[in-house]
Symmetry: C2
């Protein structure tokens, strides 16, 4: 639309301006502009209204307002491989440099070979060895610095953007909308708690104390000058996947969430646990069905299967029968990235 | 002071009233009225001022303002026996009723005997068995209800008051003062995380997500109707004493505290860790040296030794050489309980 000076002198000019103003105002009034109108968007708006309106029978006091969000595949891109796994693979050369004897030991040898097919074929136990070697053994502060440096530079091969730029704008709007309404927003991730903490505050406005993730222990000790520090060690305290999600929520938060968002079978128990609470509760699953703007995967609704991020047909059916909402990336979102 | 109608008609009346108003105002201005003037009180006031004044070189942004407080012996009475241990002992009859075979098994037999000398002599391994039997095996919700009910009724034998009434007014003032200045206040306790959570919000205004304590795992499952719930199980995830305190702080908070308060060797590493951070940090230990108004114990400064809550002379010396403050209950506090 283009304005000419003449438009303002025509009878229709006032109507044009009024139309523009109303569109701007409605965008400003709409806390979820990247969501298309529909049942999913309405469910979020209604839920927040119902639980925060003092006159509502479903009103929730502010200290109890907890909303939990899975991270990989729910807040940012997880396909075709989790970002943290890429981090671990790319740390292997430095780890081998420090411990040269690993160069001829599996699975490090395979990683160093760069043979993608062989890397794809690594078992879960191989991946655990790589995780232990690249995520533990250093101080908490050293790890944070390494992770931050990597994230400031590593780019997604498809979009050539930083991983922290590939976060979903519609979900960011949900985070902001819920926080503006007194909800504490938590990430509850199968990813490493310390890894996600290293960028969650800057990327999502979620502080470290609101990240629940897969966590190993730490060991307290002193450096040569007698200064205390914590070393990350491989002892697993919390595997924050599947049943580990509600268990981790109890450990770190101690409250049952009122809303939970996920995208795979790893989030099933978190959503069940959320919906099991009294009063109004919201559970949502993101379906990646947009091959053009992002990806389409997970066998639900006949989408192609994938190694990670499984959205099975059984999960889809459970969502439908339990009153969970399925977000269609393709249909519900008019914009994907921030 | 007594006013007569005549005072108001004298020249001095205005001065009397002005004096009164100024005294009321200065009490209102003093966030720590239960603290006597002195180095300890001044250290708290100065620390908060320095870290929250934007023009100060020691200014700390609000999201980073974390203060941690030990609970037993720092926020409430721990002598002569931890309240939670009393809870466990008093739960034993109900546990034995449900599992009659325990009646003739140690250490349950000793507890049921009521023989105080024998109970005093129980080993740590005995106490662990009692803890496992009384604190685990039920759902998280059931446990919370049991703990709340007990705390609503159990009274301290010396003061005949609820345990939650035997909290230290001066420390409550510190909690409120720090929160009023943007600090997040956390309890970091060797006590059970779920036990302390059951009263921390009502008693101290500290919500469950700000309680770090000794924590066992939970197991996710479903009841007969298919409703999910968490069962407390005896697998220890975090022993939140000694080095476990900084380790627990990293696990649950993920930030190094700016201020920490404790009262025994179990708090040593938390205070070291706090002081190891950059900028201005505050570390304080409460010395129980007031046999008349509360108790005097812990071998520091020649006080009598005790089974629990050890404030050793070595800890006292470390405090002095590391710039930690020692709070003398007798000299620094003009009031003990709320």
């Amino acid at each position: 639309m283009e304005f000419t000076r003449r438009d303002f002198f025509r009878g229709s000019a006032a109507a044009v301006v009024a139309g523009l103003v109303s569109r701007v105002a409605s965008a400003a009034d709409d806390p979820l502009p990247s969501w298309n109108d529909g049942g999913t968007k309405r469910a979020i708006l209604n839920f927040v209204h119902m639980t925060t309106d003092r006159s509502s029978s479903k009103f929730v006091p502010e200290p109890e307002r907890v909303a939990t969000f899975d991270q990989d595949g729910t807040l940012w891109v997880e396909h075709p491989i989790y970002t943290q796994v890429v981090y671990c693979f790319e740390r292997v050369p430095a780890v081998v440099k420090a411990k040269p004897e690993l160069a001829n030991t599996e699975p490090f040898k395979t990683i160093l070979s760069g043979n993608l097919e062989a890397i794809e074929g690594l078992s879960m136990s191989d991946l655990e060895k790589i995780a232990a070697a690249t995520l533990t053994g250093m101080s908490v502060d050293e790890f944070e610095e390494l992770a931050k440096n990597w994230l400031d530079n590593a780019r997604d091969p498809r979009w050539k953007k930083l991983h922290t730029e590939l976060i979903y704008q519609p979900m960011l709007e949900v985070l902001l909308f819920m926080r503006a309404n007194g909800y504490k927003t938590y990430i509850v991730t199968g990813g490493g708690q310390d890894f996600v903490r290293s960028y969650s505050e800057k990327t999502y406005g979620i502080p470290p104390e609101q990240v629940v993730g897969t966590a190993g222990g730490t060991t307290y000790g002193y450096d040569k000058s007698g200064k205390p520090f914590l070393t990350k060690d491989p002892r697993l305290l919390l595997n924050d996947n599947n049943a580990g999600k509600p268990e981790g929520i109890h450990l770190i938060i101690g409250r049952q969430p009122y809303a939970a968002f996920g995208n795979s079978t790893g989030d099933r128990q978190m959503l069940e646990y959320t919906k099991a609470g009294d009063g109004e509760r919201l559970a949502m699953l993101l379906l990646h069905d947009d091959a053009e703007r992002e990806y389409a995967y997970g066998p639900a609704q006949g989408l192609p299967d994938t190694k990670f991020g499984t959205f099975t047909q059984a999960l889809y059916d459970q969502a439908k029968s339990n009153g969970w909402f399925v977000i269609s990336m393709k249909n519900d979102w008019n914009r994907i990235f921030s």
